[in-house]
């Protein structure tokens, strides 16, 4: 198989800059709060009904309010880029269930393992990142090139 780069959609500069914003947010959270900026962990801990103390809820809630309101803040300065979502209702439901269950079982997602874990040189997060990228590649290949469902 040969890799063919999509030069038209490739955006190295904005992606690098956006990534640095994400890294800055992760750095702020660990330096000033001592917490990992893993979205699945923050959300999962917020909706977890047992054990979690009230004080734990506040920082999680605040971080997520900031995250969810980012679209609103962005469009005060520039038009919001479009999100192109091709998945059908059934696919969205199955994907959501898999992402929710899988990130809790694997203790993290693209942010917790992929950004925070890798920047801490965590072997555990490296294994997790390789695992979710691998299955992401396989599932995309199966659906787009074998079953040809887009």
């Amino acid at each position: 198989m040969q890799l063919i780069i999509n030069w038209q959609n490739f955006t190295p500069a904005p992606s690098l800059l956006g990534g640095m914003f994400i890294g800055l947010a992760a750095a702020l959270l660990v330096v000033f709060r001592g917490k990992i900026a893993g979205i699945s962990g923050i959300l999962g801990g917020l909706i977890d009904t047992d054990g979690s103390a009230k004080s734990h809820r506040l920082w999680r809630g605040l971080f997520l309010i900031g995250l969810v309101s980012s679209s609103f803040v962005y469009q005060l300065f520039a038009p919001l880029p479009e999100s192109n979502i091709s998945a059908s209702l059934g696919t969205l439901i199955i994907a959501g269930l898999l992402v929710g269950f899988g990130t809790r079982m694997g203790s993290g997602c693209t942010s917790g393992h992929g950004i925070c874990g890798l920047s801490r040189l965590s072997l555990r997060s490296l294994i997790a990142t390789i695992s979710f990228m691998f299955s992401g590649f396989v599932v995309c290949y199966l659906f787009l090139h074998v079953l040809r469902i887009s």
Partner: protein, 139 residues
């Protein structure tokens, strides 16, 4: 003060996802579809994120408390379990299906996409199933 920083961190994280293009599932799938026309942008998001976060984690490496006297809790980095690998494989499968992972889905939900609302709701159901039904069954 620490609560304002927390809110700002969430906001900066979300702005980063929007600027980087990751709130667009079509772009994420463009990265995961290595057999099609491949868009390597996601690698640059990770590169930017890791290089800046690295400085933050280096700063707290030998500290046990923040300047606000809160304990710094960081998970272990070496324990590899069956759950880590199977859970991550399941997550990746869902990620490849819809092109959404938790952060971008929450940002797209904030932008008003109903597909993202559906995804986030079922994602929380998936989390609940794991934390309450699956883990309870295993005990």
């Amino acid at each position: 003060m620490k609560n304002i920083i927390t809110l700002l961190a969430g906001l900066i994280f979300g702005l980063g996802l929007i600027i980087s293009g990751m709130t667009n599932p079509a772009k994420v799938i463009g990265f995961l579809d290595i057999a099609g026309l491949w868009d390597p942008s996601l690698m640059f998001v990770m590169l930017g994120g890791i290089s800046v976060a690295f400085v933050g984690f280096k700063f707290v490496q030998n500290k046990s408390q923040t300047i606000f006297d809160e304990a710094i809790h960081l998970p272990g980095t070496t324990h590899i379990s069956k759950e880590l690998v199977i859970g991550s494989l399941l997550f990746g499968a869902g990620w490849g299906l819809a092109g959404f992972c938790p952060g971008p889905a929450l940002v797209a939900m904030g932008a008003g996409y109903k597909e993202a609302v559906i995804f986030v709701m079922t994602m929380m159901v998936g989390m609940y199933i794991h934390d309450h039904l699956f883990k309870a069954c295993k005990k």
